[in-house]
């Protein structure tokens, strides 16, 4: 009897490790080089995720796809506080009273998605400044320079007066040592958006992830297009974890479908380049669907079809407003995958909860759902005063600065 028990225990431990329960060994958790979608606590061997530059980890992919259908815990009207399958951790040791200094190391505000989120975050901070939880909000912007961000985080650690450090990492792999150092300093560390290859932080906040994002669009194309239809993939940059995951999921789905992928082109997100490339493909033959790894310049891709006098393709964009408006105006068949922009509120909420000693999810997975024909109208109505290049799912409607702060981008 004793032997089987041991075996059982061993099996249980092994299956725990395999199914991705958290492990304390940062070395073992290196698999999440894939970033935004990656559970940092994933126990896939590090080598698989990094060494061969592969961006596809099947376990993560399948988990994310499944998470799309799960009912998140929490109030549906406040999606930034919801969590999917949360495992709560105790934060009593960080309990503090009085106004705290909140430190935020931002990767950059170099694209409209980050600009939108950054405004939301500042508005959320203002709320807690008024109510007395946050005294000072200290920010470093690394301008997309990983080395600079490492120095920024180090400076927060050295300053010694951060009540919590929030990090939005520029790159998953490179920021790992700096985040580990931040954890060692004893301050609660909150990571959001892209991940890092450690689970030392108090909480890691992210929407479901890149695989789910990429899959939303790819599945839509597979569903809407006849077998044998031709799809063009437009991507921004190579080698960026957040984006590579989206493409890896799309490739997986296209590979199992009857669609033909005409090509995948890097555009730098530049509208002129996107329009030119789409125009070139249209000259060579039909294009029935467009998949994009981010919606920047989606309108330019649509215009290429207009200018060539062709029918609209089945389009994968994003929840960015100029695209949503174009979609509404033309009535084309489209989907707008969203990488939930409201996640920029969550780190602030998390910090305040941690200071109160309340539990937070170890991995705080926020809901993430695309814009579809069903909710297009309501989202457009809700955002009707917002400028173009604003993200519909920004989730700041109840903050005091709404709508002026997002309208003026101040």
């Amino acid at each position: 009897m004793r032997v089987p028990k041991t075996v059982l225990a061993g099996l249980a431990a092994a299956s725990l490790a395999l199914t991705g329960c958290s492990t304390d060994d940062p070395e073992a958790s290196g698999a999440s080089a894939e970033g935004d979608g990656g559970s940092s606590a994933e126990a896939t061997p590090a080598a698989e995720g990094q060494a061969d530059g592969e961006w596809f980890v099947r376990a993560d992919y399948e988990r994310q796809l499944a998470q799309r259908d799960m009912q998140p815990e929490g109030d549906e009207s406040k999606p930034w506080l919801q969590a999917i399958e949360p495992e709560f951790v105790d934060t009593a040791k960080y309990k503090k009273s009085g106004a705290q200094t909140l430190c935020f190391s931002n990767a950059s505000v170099s694209n409209p998605w980050r600009v939108t989120g950054w405004i939301t975050m500042q508005q959320q901070v203002d709320v807690y400044k008024k109510s007395g939880e946050i005294g000072e909000f200290r920010v470093s912007d690394a301008g997309d320079d990983d080395n600079k961000q490492i120095s920024d985080i180090q400076a927060f650690i050295d300053s010694g007066d951060c009540g919590a450090i929030i990090v939005s990492p520029s790159t998953t792999a490179t920021l790992t040592p700096a985040v580990e150092a931040a954890c060692e300093s004893g301050v609660p560390v909150i990571v959001f958006d892209r991940g890092v290859n450690t689970d030392c932080m108090t909480t890691f906040i992210h929407p479901i992830g890149g695989y789910a994002y990429g899959a939303d669009g790819a599945e839509f194309l597979v569903d809407e297009l006849e077998p044998g239809s031709k799809v063009l993939a437009l991507r921004i940059l190579p080698g960026v974890d957040v984006l590579e995951n989206r493409w890896a999921a799309a490739q997986e789905i296209f590979g199992n479908s009857d669609l033909e992928v005409l090509g995948d082109e890097f555009t730098g997100g530049d509208a002129a380049k996107i329009k030119d490339i789409v125009t070139q493909y249209l000259q060579r033959g039909d294009v029935d669907g467009i998949w994009m790894d981010a919606g920047d310049g989606a309108v330019a891709a649509v215009e290429a079809f207009e200018d060539a006098g062709q029918d609209y393709p089945v389009m994968v964009g994003e929840d960015e407003l100029s695209f949503l408006r174009k979609w509404k105006e033309t009535g084309m068949t489209a989907i707008g995958p969203a990488y939930s922009n409201f996640q920029w509120r969550t780190p602030i909420e998390a910090a305040v909860r941690i200071w109160k000693g309340e539990q937070v999810p170890k991995e705080w997975v926020l809901p993430q759902s695309p814009v579809t024909d069903e909710n297009l109208d309501s989202l457009l109505e809700a955002n009707k005063d917002m400028p173009s290049l604003h993200y519909a799912k920004f989730g700041g409607e109840d903050l005091p600065g709404y709508p002026q702060a997002w309208k003026d981008r101040s």
């Binding site: 990094q50 530059g53 961006w55 301008g143 990983d146 520029s170 792999a173 040592p177 190579p238 080698g239």
Partner: protein, 365 residues
């Protein structure tokens, strides 16, 4: 703008300061260190008004850390610019060597020396190609190094789809250890700078670099093998970029491509060199000035961070400061440099008629 009042007035003091610090090139280098001090003083006052102390240990460490990567690259960039060349491939070389270094080491402490050698070797090879294309194929340095940069980029993007390799903990120390307030990486960078200064002032190669940059044609006619000098400068430049790549690998604990080559080290390093008083058309300047230029940028960075300056406004300020600073140096050189030479035009330059001597007679200041 901040520079205007500060660097202008105490010119005599600058010369005195310069004579003490840099006996060979007193004027310009002195002024630049004075500008650095001025920026430090202004920064300290502004930061103090904000309730912090710029000269606190942690902030000094921060400034020095921020200077090391760009410092390595700018040292090499100084050498090529002195030769009236320039190198736009440095960021790509750094990315390449971070990947070569990290994949060669592969987490094994015993392979650290091999990794360093491989990274620097690959970097040197790129420098050799740069130098050969410029001298033997007679391609303008701007285009030659831009072309080589594109080639490396194509290789990196195709070959490495993401971070690759890992560096052992022992090598991570290169990026994270510090001796007192001086980070190890900064100490190594300063040692390389000293080596570079010795190279320029005490060796024939250094002598030739000034000569080639001062006037390529005159140097050639007076029997110098100009091609070889330019090639050596490019090899050394790529190697310092390679060292920067290794440092980045040690800080990142892995090798990466896009994160390094899109960080703008190419233009930043040229700005630092020129900010350091080296003439973009070659022949005059030096590494001591470059280090001051790098430190100025690092101090600005730290001050902007402490003052919570909007990142967009930061760009505006940086652009303006670079222009104003260089305009100030240029004012001092107008008389003796009435006609500006244009770099990139071997043997046809009009200006820079100095005799091919490394000693820059600027005592007028």
């Amino acid at each position: 703008m901040t520079l205007t009042q500060q660097a202008e007035a105490p010119r005599t003091a600058a010369a005195v300061e310069g004579r003490r610090r840099a006996p060979v090139r007193l004027g310009t280098t002195g002024i630049i260190y004075l500008a650095l001090v001025a920026i430090l003083v202004i920064g300290t006052v502004l930061v103090a008004a904000d309730g912090d102390n710029l000269l606190a240990e942690r902030n000094i460490v921060d400034m020095l850390t921020r200077s090391s990567v760009l410092g390595f690259i700018a040292i090499g960039q100084t050498l090529v610019i002195l030769c009236r060349s320039l190198d736009l491939s440095v960021g790509y070389v750094a990315a390449l060597s971070s990947l070569v270094g990290a994949t060669t080491m592969d987490g094994d402490p015993a392979r650290v020396p091999l990794g360093i050698a491989a990274a620097l070797g690959v970097a040197a090879a790129v420098g050799l190609v740069n130098g050969l294309v410029i001298t033997k194929l007679k391609v303008n340095a701007f285009i030659a190094t831009l072309g080589v940069a594109l080639i490396i980029r194509g290789y990196l993007d195709t070959e490495y789809k993401g971070p690759a390799g890992s560096v052992p903990d022992s090598f991570q120390n290169f990026g994270y250890t510090r001796i007192g307030v001086v980070p190890l990486s900064t100490a190594v960078m300063l040692a390389v700078a000293v080596a570079g200064i010795v190279l320029l002032r005490r060796t024939r190669t250094g002598y030739r670099m000034f000569a080639v940059g001062g006037n390529d044609e005159v140097a050639r006619l007076s029997g110098l093998r100009t091609d070889r000098t330019v090639i050596v400068a490019h090899v050394l430049c790529s190697m310092t970029a390679g060292a920067a790549g290794l440092l980045l690998a040690s800080r990142f604990s892995t090798g990466v491509a896009a994160q390094i080559y899109s960080a703008g080290y190419d233009l930043d390093s040229i700005a630092a060199v020129v900010l350091g008083g080296t003439l973009l058309m070659g022949g005059r300047g030096g590494i001591a000035g470059t280090i001051a230029g790098v430190l100025i940028l690092a101090v600005l960075d730290t001050v902007f961070r402490l003052l919570q300056i909007d990142p967009f406004f930061r760009d505006v300020l940086r652009g303006a400061i670079i222009i104003v600073a260089v305009a100030l140096y240029a004012r001092r050189q107008i008389d003796r440099h009435a006609v500006r030479a244009r770099f990139g035009k071997h043997g046809r330059a009009a200006g820079g008629q100095d005799a091919p001597r490394p000693v820059i007679p600027e005592a007028r200041a």
